[in-house]
């Protein structure tokens, strides 16, 4: 625990006599609370869980880095003070950003914060009364939220206190707390909605996708918003002119702040103030009274041990004969046996393993954002959007840039939390492990590159014409060739056979840079010859022959060339 946690624990435990009066064992309360905070400090959550580099290294100081992250995000909110001609506008924007980011962070982290299955067998069998346990949980949630919300608004508070005044600062802090309360209500409502439309089992998957979307969204806004800031016309903008704005809660809070600091603005401002002061409490009361009871029950099922699964009546689906399109693709591009097993395993694991998705899918999103930006950046003469000319550098760049995602995806292919399950490669009579690897790489290409390749070709055909196709086809073939070549050189472990983050140090950075160099150099050569059609076609043929040859080399990798993991 750092000093902030210690301070917060001291604060929430201050009313000892009050707690005792309620029948709470304060010694137990303190012990549980401290343990929970220490645990939280050592468990990466939310976006940081995606970036977690080395799970074997003990994580600590999470709450400290969380603090910095929150302050940093808070700095980003400050842009709102550049917009608009009055404080209603500025603060509406400020509170909107605050609500959005707070909601996103809490939403992603709440499952781990709210429910901890370990409670069921660590705390519940001990002589701890219900009220003590409940209070500890409640206090922990309060500390957690405060630790997120206060740093986020810290810079805002300094700004308001320094440039506007002390009384406005007090009102600002009150408003921040009210907005926080209201946001907690919104998250609860969102959780309940999600649980209504889906099963608790799917809930985690939805949260995963939510976290991925959040990471991409934050990346996109950091990319896009600075490009918008230069627009000076935003400064004269008054949000209250919008006739629908009265529906937006951040606007109420902004107006309430305005009214309470100046005590002017007329009847409508009074209404907004009353709304701001009452709605958060009404909504929280509503949650506690009506939503919480069933909600907690359902939440507890999310991380259930699965024992209840066995008794749950399940619909006996007839054994599916393959899975349609994928099955056909598989049969068409892989040989029976180990290669097909490698393909199918990779295909399924990459869409079902939470770990893999968290690591690879955000970079897919970043790529999407980047591609859109690349295209949009090219403004025509009159500031109107125009496509770059067919022989522009941009297209070659787009095709070869997508390679980085494939390299990323392939880099994570050998990792799995279930690495011990890799015995299945070693026990059966398979002569060459290269077959598994080839199947696996093919799965990555088909899954993560084929859709993009088709999209590129189709849009090139319609937007740039047939003449542009040979170059795009060459680019796509080269992608496949590069991926197979890198796979041949670097793939010395079986897919999903290594504990995530157990990377060999040192050479990996050099190797990473080197692998990045391959697409860059191939792309540059391609750019130079792009206008000579016969050369492009010739290289196309050569590229395809090379793919075939590298394929063969991968397939023929022997057990001696593979790092067999026998630590199971």
């Amino acid at each position: 625990m750092n000093f902030i946690d210690k301070f917060l624990v001291k604060i929430v435990l201050l009313p000892t006599t009050f707690y005792r009066g309620l029948g709470i064992n304060t010694l137990q309360l303190k012990a549980i609370l401290q343990t929970k905070i220490t645990l939280g400090d050592r468990t990466p959550t939310g976006i940081r869980a995606i970036k977690r580099a080395n799970p074997k290294k003990p994580t600590s100081g999470v709450s400290f880095s969380q603090l910095f992250m929150s302050v940093f995000l808070g700095l980003f909110f400050m842009t709102s003070f550049y917009f608009g001609q009055n404080y209603e506008t500025k603060l509406t924007l400020y509170f909107s950003m605050f609500m959005f980011i707070l909601a996103s962070t809490l939403m992603a982290d709440f499952t781990t914060v709210l429910i901890d299955v370990r409670d069921n067998f660590i705390i519940l069998p001990k002589p701890v009364s219900d009220i003590t346990f409940l209070t500890s949980r409640l206090l922990y949630i309060i500390i957690y939220i405060l630790k997120t919300a206060i740093p986020m608004t810290l810079i805002g508070m300094v700004y308001v206190g320094y440039f506007i005044g002390l009384w406005p600062l007090v009102i600002f802090i009150v408003m921040v707390l009210l907005v926080t309360l209201f946001t907690v209500f919104l998250i609860n409502a969102a959780y309940i909605f999600v649980l209504k439309v889906t099963t608790p089992q799917k809930f985690k998957t939805i949260i995963t996708y939510f976290q991925i979307a959040l990471a991409v969204l934050i990346y996109a806004s950091y990319q896009i918003i600075p490009r918008l800031i230069s627009k000076s016309e935003m400064a004269g903008f008054d949000i209250s002119q919008n006739s629908w704005i009265f529906l937006a809660p951040p606007f109420w809070f902004a107006c309430a702040w305005q009214f309470l600091t100046t005590f002017s603005g007329g009847f409508i401002m009074v209404i907004y103030t009353v709304l701001s002061l009452s709605i958060p409490f009404i909504s929280i009361w509503f949650v506690i009274k009506y939503l919480a009871p069933s909600f907690n029950q359902k939440l507890a099922m999310i991380e259930g041990t699965g024992e209840e699964q066995t008794t749950k009546p399940t619909i006996h689906k007839a054994p599916k004969k393959g899975f349609g399109l994928t099955e056909n693709i598989t049969k068409w591009i892989t040989q029976n046996g180990a290669e097909r097993v490698g393909f199918m395993l990779t295909w399924k694991m990459t869409s079902r393993s939470r770990d893999f998705k968290m690591k690879v899918y955000p970079s897919l999103g970043y790529l999407g954002v980047y591609l859109v930006l690349m295209l949009l950046n090219n403004k025509g003469n009159k500031g109107r959007f125009e496509l770059p000319p067919a022989d522009s550098f941009v297209y070659i760049f787009i095709v070869y840039f997508s390679n980085f995602v494939l390299i990323t995806a392939m880099g994570y292919l050998i990792y799995s939390e279930k690495y011990k399950a890799a015995w299945l490669y070693y026990i059966p009579p398979v002569d060459k492990p290269g077959k598994f690897i080839l199947g696996s790489v093919k799965a990555i290409l088909v899954k993560f590159f084929a859709p993009l390749a088709v999209a590129i070709l189709v849009s090139a055909y319609f937007l740039l014409g047939v003449a542009s196709l040979p170059n795009f086809i060459l680019g796509i073939c080269n992608q496949a060739l590069i991926i197979f070549t890198i796979a041949y050189i670097t793939f010395n472990q079986m897919p999903f056979s290594t504990l995530a983050g157990n990377k060999t140090k040192g050479s990996s950075l050099v190797r990473g840079l080197f692998t990045m160099l391959i697409p860059v150099s191939v792309g540059s050569v391609h750019y130079l010859i792009r206008d000579f059609l016969p050369v492009v076609i010739l290289l196309n043929v050569l590229s395809i022959i090379a793919i075939w040859m590298v394929n063969d080399s991968i397939k023929n990798k022997t057990w001696e060339q593979i790092n067999v993991q026998t630590d199971w």
Binding site: Q201, T305, G306, E307, Q309, T310, T314, H316, K317, P319, K320, N336, G337, A338, R340, V341, M344, L345, K348, M349, R352, S353, S416, K418, K420, A421, W423, L424, Y426, I427, P428, P429, V430, D431, F496, V564, T566, W568
Partner: protein
Amino acid sequence: MEPIISLKNVIKNYGTKQVLKGINLDIYPGQVIGYIGPNGAGKSTTVKILCGLIADFEGEVLVGGLNIKTESLTIKSKIGYVPELADLYDVLTPIEFLNLMAQLYSIDEQLASERMNKMLTAFGLAAVMNERMDTFSKGMRQKVLIISGLLHNPDIIILDEPLSGLDANSVITVKELISKLAKDGKTIFYCSHMMDVVEKVSDRIVLINNGTVIADGSFEELKQQQGNQSLEQIFSLLTQGSSTNDASDQLMNAFNN
């Protein structure tokens, strides 16, 4: 009779540490071998050598008359292996997982599908065979693993703690299955720490400690050699040299303050 598995002076070093110090063992078809020993005795190293995973050992291992160093593929196709601790890619469904295994053993698709269905049904998993195993209990996963080891109808079956997590009825099923497989001429290599089970299922017990075989014979023979005791008592006598009573006495002593 020719032994189906024959280990001759097998030595294995990990760096400077000698894990197996010359194991000699002849196993005959239809035998159920209870392979026991304390943690770190070299049990799983032996199993990995038999499965063809570790090739850099000294000595000779013949399975079905074939040398494991040169004919490991043929030998692998005759061995069925059930790993311990329910390690599997649990985002797959039992059908998907077993299909992968079937393909790796080149079992005909139709045949594999029939066998899977029958075996899953026999283990009471028919209703969940198309559900992902991440919601499965330990015992359910263990059942899937047992099926995956038997699917290709192997001659030699290596079971590593196969009963862990199974409910009482499934334990009985698996124990009966083991004796029926043995009657059918299959050789079973049974590794476990549960002495009472080993005592009952195996017709020959091999005890290893510090990389050497320190006892080998039927339970009756061991009892004659070591005095009329349970396998548990024989085990601790041979591996610890003293009674386990001492440790428990020390533990009880902790309360005396």
